[in-house]
């Protein structure tokens, strides 16, 4: 696959502070560009704050494509990845992101330890806090759990997925991957882009974060799922729901398939995977219904042959042909996570304009 052309980036990333890309652009000064203490959900971000993170990530995309992928921006800082739910890909992505920035990264696999009960969640948070982490990345199986911990610790917290609520870095990396694919076609904006999200919407935090993120960037979002996997009141989030996959695909410029999350299902939601594939599997024939040059996405891990066929998942078209950007998504994941870690630790690193006093004076809401 040909690498997507990049946005203009400086030859070497700056050691600290905002990148040239975002510095010269339209963002508010200093901490006002991203006045949040942590990243708990897309729902609490303004559009310009989303764009800021995307622009900040570009420098790390560039870095990650060089042979020497290491900077010392976060040297001396400790980042704890506290994963209360099993994860391979997201954990790896955060670990690489932290290490490439020069931080000391520690992984806590709480899912495998005794820390499973909700009763100890606050105690775990206090313990992590007492170890003076400079940032904590948390994944937890219950919606709202990350916010609960964030309220108890002093350092920035990044939500790496909480229950069925939000997975903000996934939505950001999807937006970044999408923007790269569109730029390869000479298109800068997502305004008016027709995106279809299909699959297990009910159990998907990826769907929720993506709906919010894509809409904030101006895209038009359709969601498609069988009735049992379509959450109630989803239309009030401003999306068009449908049960008919063919109708949902018609004219779609982007098709984002979701993983069928059998492990989250309490009771039977679909009769069989075979039947699910018949109704909602993305096959090459089905993909014909989408707009020419459709972009196929999947947050992974894929159930090949269930929600997506291998030939579609591996579709390596040119910039203007139908193509899958699933591996680009993974690549962008590291860059987005580097951007989040770098931006959120600016305060503790004393980056000018991002310090506590300055922030207070300039009215930043450290919320």
């Amino acid at each position: 696959m040909a690498p997507a052309p990049m946005a203009p980036t400086p030859p070497t990333p700056p050691a600290t502070g905002p990148s040239a890309t975002s510095r010269r652009s339209r963002y508010p000064a200093g901490a006002l560009a991203f006045p949040h203490r942590g990243l708990l959900g897309i729902g609490e971000l303004e559009t310009h704050e989303i764009l800021y993170l995307l622009d900040e990530a570009e420098q790390w995309v560039a870095l990650n494509r060089r042979p020497a992928k290491h900077v010392d921006v976060l040297a001396g800082l400790t980042i704890i990845n506290a994963f209360f739910e099993n994860s391979t890909r997201t954990l790896l992505s955060f670990e690489i992101a932290g290490k490439r920035l020069g931080a000391d990264v520690v992984n806590m696999h709480a899912a495998q330890s005794s820390v499973k009960k909700g009763e100890t969640l606050i105690d775990t948070a206090m313990t992590l806090n007492a170890m003076r982490a400079d940032a904590i990345v948390i994944r937890h199986g219950s919606s709202g759990a990350v916010r609960l911990i964030a309220d108890k610790v002093d350092c920035p917290v990044i939500n790496a997925g909480d229950g069925q609520h939000e997975h903000p870095t996934q939505a950001l990396l999807d937006a970044l991957a999408l923007r790269h694919a569109l730029r390869a076609r000479g298109r800068e904006e997502l305004n008016g882009l027709l995106v279809t999200i299909c699959g297990d919407v009910r159990h998907s935090r990826v769907a929720r974060s993506n709906i919010l993120c894509l809409q904030a960037l101006g895209a038009i979002v359709r969601v498609c799922a069988p009735p049992s996997l379509m959450p109630a009141g989803i239309e009030r989030m401003g999306v068009a729901p449908t049960f008919d996959f063919d109708a949902a695909l018609a004219g779609a410029e982007v098709v984002m398939m979701l993983r069928l999350q059998s492990e989250r299902m309490e009771g039977q939601f679909v009769p069989s995977e075979r039947e699910f594939r018949r109704l909602y599997g993305l096959t090459p024939e089905r993909l014909e219904r989408a707009a020419p040059g459709v972009i196929v996405m999947h947050p992974g891990p894929m159930n090949r042959g269930v929600e997506i066929d291998s030939t579609v998942a591996d579709l390596a078209g040119g910039p203007h042909e139908a193509r899958s950007i699933i591996t680009d998504q993974v690549e962008m994941g590291v860059a987005i996570r580097m951007a989040c870690l770098e931006v959120l630790t600016r305060r503790v690193r004393g980056v000018p304009g991002w310090g506590g006093d300055n922030a207070a004076q300039s009215g930043a809401r450290w919320a």
Binding site: G43, I122, G144, D162, Q164, G233, I234, M237
Partner: protein, 410 residues
Amino acid sequence: MRQQRALTIIGGKVLTRSGLQAGGVRCVDGMIAEVGEITPHEGDQLVDAGGLLVAPGLVDYGVFAVDKPAFHFGGITRAALMPDRPPPLDHPARVRFAAQSGKPDFWVHPLAAATIGLEGERLAELALMRDAGARGVATGRRWIGDSGVMLRLMQYAAMLGLVVVAHSEDAGLIGNAAATAGEMATRLGLPSAPAEAEALAVARDIALAEMAGARLHLRQVTTSAALDLVRAAKVRGLAVTAGVTPAHFMLSDLALQDFRTFARLSPPLREEADRQAVLAAIGDGTIDLVASGHDPRGPEDKRLPFADAAPGMAGAETLLAMVLTLVRDGVIGIERAFELLARNPARLLGVEAGELRPGAEADIALVDPVRPWVVDSSRMAAAAGNTPFDRQPVEGRVTALWKGGVAVES
């Protein structure tokens, strides 16, 4: 503690069955002797109400804990205790113990567990528990899914003259839901169940009660569709009554914002249209009583991810003030407020209380109906401060309370 001296309260506005009237109440031997314009007798203990409301002590139909400081703060002198306790009230000895647990200054009327362990399978010893002091039989905080068990329960309870207190949520639909299906639950990613789960359960239980000739009390009816079913059953003359807690007429599921676990209730908060339907049902008499559902829960139960937190709210202290908001908003009059809070629940319990009339127990609250205060979850009389009304300014406070003619120390 028995009343030693006769008590005469004068100079108040007395809530009687025929409405508010100036005057007072005279109590002798723990009972109300006279109501209205009374002349104190020689040697009576005299209390001047100072123009405040002289009201019956509240009767709280359906609480989950015996928490006297909170009950007394709220002017509550009796409560029907739900059987959901560790261990459940499914044995006569436990019922007998619970019935004594509030005396002398608070009376607990236990509701017997309908089934052993509240598991919805085998009937508990209802007759023995009735003789031990149970004033009704309750399914607990869950629905009995097996209609055969429910029918036999109703038949048995009807024979024993016990009211069946049902929880109305279809278990198959609710699963592990923590919220009502809708925009809020979807945005927060919470496990949710359709509001119709309530109407389904209510429809079945009304049908079974009609078959069995049982008296059915639906402890909380919170949706428009279920209230319509209750309304229709009442028109047909069935012995069906309905209750609700203030949360369901004060709040909608918007209160779940930011995963506030103090708003995690069972049944869960509903959408705004259902809240409006509850208000209408209180106004038109479909809802017979308002209870606190008092269930104090500390941080170990509440400072958890929303779906993992225990349902329930500490409601005793705010019960009166919340119902008085309905008076201020013109939904009901003051007489109806105390019908909902005292007279109707007392009648459902079958106790001589809940109203100010000669021959009733001298459970009396002196109420300043316009005294303003602010609900503060960190400074509550209750065993825990899990109120969804934190920081809300309200009006109406109990300034003095008597149980059986004896002043309650607060």
